[in-house]
Every structure is written in C-alpha cells, then in structure tokens.
Symmetry: D2
Subunit: 155 residues, 4 copies
C-alpha cells in the first residue's frame, strides 16, 4: 500500500515569496495546521500555525508584509514515498518531528504524513493482531500432510 | 538492528524422528512453549505445547513412541532475517499465527519471533514517539538559516 | 460497557474431580487453550494446555486417571466484573499472567479475559484516538459564546 | 498513581482580561502550545497557538489590544484528578480534543493532560505487557499447594 494512502490530511502548499497572511488564510480555509513551502513542486520549507505565533506575532512582525520564506523552517526532512512504515517511525523518533513531507522519486511533493496518521496506523495493526491471533489456537493438521521441501518463506 | 535482536525466547530445536516425549522434556527444561523441528539446520516443522495436547493426548497416542514428525505442523512459514518489522506484522496478521521461525540467507534457522515480541516492540515505539514528540513544539530557526538545495531526504 | 463484552473466548468450565482427559477433550471440542475449574460456580483453579504438557505428560502421569485438581493451578486471581480496564492491565502486568477469570458480585464465574483481548482493545483505542483527533484542529467559537459558570466536568 | 504524574507539559495560566500578546509571550517563554484561562484558579477557557492564528491573525485583530476572553474557547471540558485513565481516553475520543485541564475536588486547576501523554502511557503499558507476559509460561505448582478458599480477588 503506498505511503500516501495513510495520509489523512491534505497537503497544502504555498510559495516562499507569498505573505504569512496568505498562509494564515490557507490554514483557515483548508483546516490544516501546516503548509508546505514549495519551489517547482519541491518542498523547501515548512510553516506551522505554531511557527507563525512564535516567529511572527511574538516578534511583532507584520503578517501582511512578512514573506513565508522569512519565517519558515527551511530544508525540511522529507520521506521518499517508497519508505517503509517502520523506518518512518524511527525517523520521526530520531528527529523529534510530527510530520514529514513525502516526495516522489523525482523529488516532487506528493503528500504529508503526520504523527496522528502513524498512531492510527499502529493502533489499527495492534487491534488487528489481537483479533487475528485470538482465532489461531491449534488447527488440525490437514489429512495426509507431511513435510516436503516446499518454499514457505515470507517475501 | 537485526531481527534476531528482538527475539526474546530462545529457539529450541528437535529432530523429526525424535519422540514427542523428548519435545515435552525440552519444553519443561528450556521453559518454552514451542520447538522448531529441523533437518540440516533448516526448519521443516513446528510443534507447540497445545499441538501435543490436541494431537497426541486427545488422540490417545503414546508420547514415548510417537515421533515428532507425525504430529508437528509441517512446512511452517519462515521469515528471512532481513525482513522489515512492518512486513512481519502484516504476515502475522495475514497468516493468523503467533510465531515465525527466522532463517538466514542460506535457509538455516537463526531464531524465532513471537507475537509477544512484536507487541513489546510496537508498544515501545509508541511510547518513544509520544515522548520524542512531546518535546518538539517549535524550535527557533537557527540564525542565518535560509533555504539552500540541501539533500534532506530520509534513507 | 461491561467487562464481559470484551471477552472474545468462551469460558469453559470443569469440575475439580473430573479427569485431565476430560479437560483435554474440552480443549479440543471447544477450541480453547484453558479451562476454569469451578466449585459451586466459583473459580477454584485454572488449567491450561501448557500445564497439561508440563505437569501430566512430562511427569508421565496418566491423563485418564489423574484428576484436574491434582494438576491445576489452584486459587487463580480473579477480576470482579466491575473492575476498570486500566486496573486490569496493571494487574496483568503485576502478576505476569495472560488471563483472569471474571466473577460477578456474588463470586460466580461470568467470563475470562485474556491478554489478546486487551491488546485488541488497546490497539483499537489508539486507532480511534488517532482518528478522532486528526479531525480536531480548531473549531470556530460558536457565535455569541462566552464564559458562564457551566458544569463541564467529566464524570 | 495520581493523574498529574502523567502530565509532561507544565500547565501555564493566564487571566481572561490579559491580552492575546501576553498569551503569545507565555507560549514562547514557557515553550507550550496552549494556555489555560483561569478565574480564581478555576479553568474558564483554553487558548492554543492555533486559535490565535485562526481567531486573531486571520480576523486581522490586534493581539496587543484583543483580550484573551474574546478569542479563547470558553467552558473547556475538565477532568477531575481522580478520573481513571481509561475513562479519560474515552472522553478524549468522544469529544475529539487533544487536551483536558485537570481539576482538584475543589474545582481548582492542577494540571493539563494531552494526547501525547496518553500515547506515551498506552505505548508503555503495551510494551510492559509484552515483556511481563513473555516470561509467564507455566510455573510449577508450589509443593503442597492445594485449593483452599482464599480470597484472590483483584481490587
């Protein structure tokens, strides 16, 4: 299953030279907490609602003149869309961030995956495991079954 | 981290022509609930305490003369040691089993991984995620930071 | 929701003076791994498939003459049906067991809850939390809303 | 263990008649994403960094003159400090919020508990369960053990 299938929130983008107020309006209209700053469809920065409070309001900057690139977090760590879920979890832990832009093989932005997505995913796996296994117990050996050199390796 | 590092229980082996009573004694001595049946170090069957109750006792067979291969579950699905944790979880769900023998590239048995191992592992990941992320919030942008075409792709 | 609603496996009972072979047949017929030993509907022991292997077969006892009370684990810790899920999890951790008989207020057996049940339950909660929260974000304040000394305490 | 022991983030308070800019400065200084609005030590509102972006910036209000009570979410649902963890999880799901102020018996604010706290907690429980149980298996019956009408009910 492609990684983007697990992304619940839409990925909303903005240009680096747009104003912070444009980002604010996007957050309101699209009901997101974060916009990805792109140049030629590639992520070059990330800007969250919290960044706006701390880097614009707290600094008494004017949101209608300050550009996105002045206050964004530049060079966000991105995840290739082919990355495994487990590696993604490790990366989130290691870097201590809540979200990664996801990029295709050509480096273009295709989605954003968040901590909430991963929690829902891991919780679902655990629930499924509990359920699947509860029905295991011992099955009868199929009649006439015996060992033959079959290939039964997981791939 | 190699998959075998997550295996808590030792992998205990037996030959297919040994008696069920030998398996019983191994389960007692080594405090395990399952033995892997091997031929030339390759897993060809699996035998659990439950299998012994249902396939030997319930059938009134004699544990001191019945061979392991007569009552084992033949051809167990094995996991290559290079498999990803996430794929392993999917396989456990799909096949509805609690444990997989783990084999090296040459097909030889190197461990056994159980549902309990995976639960401990996933629980630990969730706890770590909660902890790591709780400290995220917004960091100041490093002074003078600006966007440059850095490579920041997870690998 | 009553605790027994979370119990997936049926609770199968046996009398202390029945034979181990009767327990074996019950485990086969009912597809369970454990029977609860009752006297006047109250749990006085527990017997698992594993106990039978280690305490009957390994000791070369005869399952058709050995009684259940001779090999059961006596005095199992039971959970009152009104216990909270969280307390139950703590108890499972503390006592290191996989299952608790559940008893009604009068001490009579009403169910059995297992580690698998709790894993399914906790996983489901985590998945639900991830899902519920992903849609939170900020809601507009209802028009005309203002603070009044309402009672908004969780109960 | 008291609920407040699970709260990782400090609870930061503000008065309803303070300015939004004061809230912003608190969020910056204390590194929190949310302040609790109190009157006589009782929570009467809550204000997050996101609320400030959507209700102040997006509405082009002036943070240095707008009061906290004009834009806070009034009447937040609070959790009594004696609430069980499980009930708290249910409430978070039901109400779709990420955090609850915690109040003592007299209604006074004593902490704030967040989704991140609960995820860390539940993950830790799962990891502990996997670990505790992996060592269960079957223990020998203590010599001379037999059933007596002991009280072995969880409390």
């Amino acid at each position: 299953m492609p990684l983007t299938d697990f992304c619940k929130a839409p990925v909303i983008t903005i240009s680096p030279d747009q104003k912070v107020l444009d980002a604010v309006n996007l957050m309101l209209d699209k009901n997101v907490g974060c916009v990805v700053v792109v140049e030629q469809d590639r992520p070059i920065g990330i800007l969250t609602d919290r960044d706006i409070v701390l880097r614009v309001m707290a600094k008494r900057k004017d949101a209608s003149t300050t550009t996105v690139q002045d206050v964004m977090t530049p060079n966000p760590i991105s995840a290739p869309e082919a990355i495994g879920i487990w590696d993604l979890i490790q990366a989130m832990k290691k870097h201590g961030v809540r979200r990664f832009p996801i990029v295709a093989g050509d480096g273009k932005l295709v989605g954003i995956i968040t901590l909430d997505d991963l929690i829902e995913l891991m919780g679902g796996e655990l629930a499924d495991l509990g359920r699947a296994i509860a029905t295991e117990l011992s099955h009868p050996i199929p009649a006439g079954a015996s060992w033959k050199s079959e290939d039964r390796l997981l791939r």
